[in-house]
Amino acid sequence: MQQEYILQSFKGVNEPTISRLHNLGLCVGCRMQVIQRYPFHGPVIIEAHHQRIGLRYRVFARLLAEE
């Protein structure tokens, strides 16, 4: 039951975090699977390009342009 998402935008994410996400090969249009979500807007684990990355919920929501 892994959900797949497309990275929509980096809007509202701070500069160093964008750099780090770029470093990890994440770009707009990238596919990412959600491996684990923690309750109460806790961290989110995604998988992209065969690697697992832990993110804060706030950053994750912005990548999906939900916020």
């Binding site: 701070n14 750099s19 770009c27 491996i35 684990q36 923690y38 684990i45």
Partner: protein
Amino acid sequence: MATVALIGNPNTGKMTLFNSLTNKYEYVGNWAGVTVEKKQGQLKDADVTLVDLPGVYSLDPLTKDESVVATYLMQNQPDLILNITNASQLQRNLLLTIEALELARPTVLVLNMVDDLRRTGYDYDLAILQQRLGCAIIETNARSKKGVADVRKAAIEYRQRPTKRLAINYPPMIEQAIRQAEEALVADYHYSATTAHWLAIQFINQNKAIRKYATDKNLQPLLSQQRYYDQQGFADRIFAARQNFIEQTIKAARKPVGNSHDHHLTSRVDRVVTHPVWGPLIFALIFFIMFKLSFDWVGTPLSDMLDGFLSGPVSTTANHLLIQAGALPALRSLVVNGTIAGVGGVLAFIPQIFMLFACISILEDSGYMARAALVTDRLMQLIGLNGKAFIPLIIGFGCNVTGIMAARTIEQPKERLVTTLIMPFMSCSARLPIYSLVVAAFFPRHQALIVLSVYFLGIAVALLVAKCYQVAFHVRQGSVFVIELPEYHLPRPDIIWHGTWDKGKGFIHKAGTIIFAGTVLIWFLSSFGTSGFVTDSTRSFAADLGRWLMPLFRPVGFAHWQVISALFTGILAKEVITSSMMVMFHTSSKAFLIAALGPFMSPAGAYALLVFILLYAPCFATMATIKQETGSTWWMIYSMFSSLGIAYLVAFLTYHIALLIV
């Protein structure tokens, strides 16, 4: 002698490869301007120096540590660059590779962890990769030593590598900007064409280290165009062009091999370990076991044995030899009571510290550490820190020194500094003996409860102070918490040993010097008085100091010179407080001391004393570590005085509130 530089992303097994390539390595001081240790090694049986650069994702630095790599590549001309990559994550590893290849130095690309890659059901056609990237490629699996010999051979044959620059098709506007800047830099500033080209790309790509370099050197061709570059969004377009190149390359070179059993182990372990409910429970269990191992099952018994050996046979033998040699009583006292007792007291911590570091190394090497940081991030955000600060703080309960050293894993310098500064409020195990003495004397019926309340007060103060620093340092701005969760690996003993030794030896080497100096100072103060050398410490300078400071401590409830002098010696090491008190009260029995303390102060004063001991000043070893890790004497002094101030304030408040209640 030839120099080979190792660069690569974090979690690529670079360290493992470095350790298997070299037979000995050393830390040759720090990199210029930052407190990152420079690690160099000698290639086995060859006249080649290997320089291990910090693991980075790109040459554009986010942290001070990362800036080392860009600066190194700009100012040094290594004979060969060994770029270590994680084969199963080649896509993102190639971003750094491109930056290195644009430098046009002889480069060899190492595809490490190929076994992990094949487990995902893919492999790369090396000929295609070599042709597209224009550099030699070697496949390795450093953990099982596969391919290490090939890398060694490549390092020795560095002269045979071509120096071809990788040319990526950037958009015409950018190509033109690069060309113009390059020509001006060559003509006006006498850079070589390749260096100028690389500088121009890095500058346009908003590399912070290079922009600072350009400003320092006043490179007008770049600086005058900076606004134009940024307005046109060149950096994003460079990133897009590189991504495009990487995708094409990978698509062309990737070939399926057999069935994918895509990281079965990692998925299965992660399902439990990062579970919202089981995750935190497992986390707590692992840390409980780690503490038990370090401070109960293995570490402490060994420490006690070492302590017994140092304070028993070693001390007696030294004393005996000195008497035979006819040494002055003062000299004998310096060696036996000062050096052996003081330095020995600190050395006795080594088994505990090494045990703890071994546990941490196992957690790091297996890949669990990143998960632990993730699980605790939410909690730490409340005080403006991130999950990576939680583990060091927990370790601080064992020993502040190890805790501060464990804070190295925090990327953000400000967050690391805050973690370091609040560390002394974590009640380390060395404070326990004096707590138990005081509670036995004053709170015999609620011992555990009182000690627990002291621990929690320490945490509360740490959180409050961290919150203040968060506001003062603007920590939240630019807080980054993006954490890579590496594949799980079975820890390998030699890697654990290397990790443990690397972490622990700093404690022996560097802290040893300041502890020695401190020991001698405290010994001097407690063995000399206005009348010269004294055997009765109640007539020593320390006692005088205690008496002199007495009025200052009246408002906090424990105005007794014996206690104050003992606190002073506690700066050396917290466990010394108890023994100092025994000396000051002329007793060698704990029971007698407990009885003697009773009439000296009220329970309110005693609780204020506990609070003061909890907070008042980091011990010498901790101060030495603060200096070493922050790279500044100022922070060490600041830490001492700020905790002194906080301790006085909180003890004062506690005393007066307690007086109202009791």
